[in-house]
Amino acid sequence: MNSTRRGLLTALPIVGAGVLGVGFWKMLQGMESGGFDPRAVKNPNVGRPIPQFAMPGLPGLGDGFTDKELRAETRPVLVNFFASWCIPCVQEMPGLRSISRNMPIWGIAYEDKPENASAFVQRDGTPYARVAADRHGRVAIDWGVTGVPESFLVAPGGRILWHGSAALDPQIYDAEIRPRLAGL
């Protein structure tokens, strides 16, 4: 083996380690800024039209809604799957209330007793413009929901623009949702 080849070969490990190191550094940066989430769940429906559904409302909170009504909206809507039995959903509520000042949020109670869901939504003031009950979680399956809370940004006409699988707060709204609204 000549010495140049030897030198190149012995330099390979540090080059490899360097590439890995830069990758890890980018990941850490992304984790701090929110751009990289190792626990993220990707929803295959992003970019596609919303599925068909028709759901009843919750006691004392109106009539529920259908996919046709959601499609007919002229403003973007944030669709939020929640449940009264879910702790992150409880933590999410103040954030949702502050987001609801900027855009309409439509809530879907996932696998929840209607009276529990209704009491949960009304306890500290509802953030939702409209609420529907997905009593047995069928609609959630069509949306590709893996757990609650999950949220979808739906454009006028019914296309899903964005999906989030964590409890929402104003920071996520500013970083992820607001820039997408600007493009509409």
């Binding site: 030198g7 190191g21 990758g23 890890f24 850490l28």
Partner: protein, 659 residues
Amino acid sequence: MFGPEQGHFALALACVLALIQFVVPLWGAHKRNARLVAMAPFLAVSQLLALAISFFSLIMCAVHDDFSVQNVAANSAASKPLLYKITGVWGNHEGSVLLWTLILGVCGAAVSAFGRNLPDILRGRVLAILGGVSAGFQLFCLLTSNPFDRVFPAPMDGQGMNPLLQDPGLAFHPPILYTGYVGFAVPFAFAVAALLEGRVDAAWGRWVRPWAVAAWCFLTCGIALGSWWSYYVLGWGGYWFWDPVENASLIPWLTGTALVHSAIVVEKREGLKIWTVLLAIATFSFSLSGTFLVRSGILNSVHAFANDPARGVFILALLALVIGGSLALFAWRAPSLTSGGLFSPVSREGSLVLNNILLCSICAVVVTGTMYPPFMQLLAGRTISVGKPFFDAATIPLTIPLLLAMGVGTALPWKRAQLARTFSHLFVAAIIAAVGLVLCFWKFSGALPIACGALAIWVIAASVTDILRRVGLGHSSMSDMVARARNLPRSSWGAALAHIGAGITVLGLCGMSGAQHAIVEIHVGETRSLAGDDWTLLNVHDYAGPNYRAMQADIAIRHNGKLITTLHPEKRDFTTQNQTTTEVAIHTNFITDLYGVVGDRHGTGANATYVLRLHRNPLAPWMWLGGLVMAIGGAFSLSDRRLRVGAPKRAAARNMAQA
């Protein structure tokens, strides 16, 4: 005397001592100043002393329920049993980093104590490198993960500990595993010192190998213990999930195993020098990166530590210094290391090269599978997961030739083997393996388990017959054989044992591939059959434990009407922590595990049904037993080293006495 302030001060003192230990001997070696170099052992021992005081102080804080210490308040509680107050110290991030540095300190002191026969300059440099790594981790501990931070106002009681962690197996798992990880710092330091010196020779191979073997033993035990814990505590019936945290321990084990073997070639044939140095650096680098990846939260794992990207940045910088520095030194100095003679492919060293190629290929597969998801997400923005199908499909085809070579390798002589003679040595083992193949056809199903099972029997048979041949079975008298067995180097016994252990583990894995399970929902009194056994739910009763409520099931297992055992699995509800744990019930006869788990109760009163999970796991205990045998083999070969390392001195003393 041993309060949090004293502990904090001792840690800072240790850090300063470690920094001096890093700088002074290296400077002394550079200037050829023997007195500066000779300071290294004293510094290493005093650093250990300071660390021990620091660690002991943290234990005392936990034992005395000092909830003004943030770490104790967050992880302990007044009602916790004393054993778990002590072991809980290293069950969290801050405490485990302190334990990490303590073990590193022990390694340094061990090199000082057992390395008296090393050349002073080499020992000074090794200790300096260890000191440098120590100083880095102690700074990390002090600056970002201080276990002695106070909290004001102090809470009345601590937040308690995850009930899953209140288990004796897990209490002693981290120290053993960390000793394995950290132990590879010593071969790493030897490699860096050799690069600084610009010389690697047979003596270097002889010095570095015991340290690598010792670390390897601990890592083997640590992995086996972790796997056993997930088997009997998590209650999923599985033993290895190819989870990133598990892979993080398997990767250094694979390169460490390669290192243990390649160092033999350096020692005996002065070959594979550059490669061995690289393996020593790589093994410790993988140990460090594994720790880093787990703690930074980059890898998505079930074994979550509290994730903190800021901490991650600090460790990454530390890794860049340690790994980047050593690899840069490698790129610069390694080309000048002279390589040894040429090998014949059919020889002991040839088979060790094959061993290294295969082990490193398996390692590359595991690294790829582990790193692919985060890098895919970073580069392409897609989340994917790589799981068991990939790892099984990619590692098993590499394991088959490895097992085949393991049997042949020990039968080959150094330098050049005569094939005909080797084959005659292996004839008996081959016949036993052929019988084993028939046995495997009968007991296992599927081509891979049958092939691997037969090869495992081949490895065991070849190791046993190799030892018997060397002892002289068949052509010597009994007393001759005993004498020869005594004279056989302990390392040969150790190698045979370790190979037998590997065979036992592989047999266990093959057996587990035929594990059967059923999930049933039945009333009390009903019976379900699984693989020829009848499982009857006799009774379910509730009771209250010290800090939980439990539901215990009595399950009788009968085979052809004869009672084998009654299992009592439990489901425990820890109300304060809002957590449920399952207490698995296992009956083992060391051939088959019967494994029962009780799940949810549906309905009430006489109509209540219970969800039960029933497992029949053939050869399950062999997986961990094999790991233990491997580690014992390693320890056996270590006992040989110590005698040999002391040999020149004893010979010198004898010569003096004669003169």
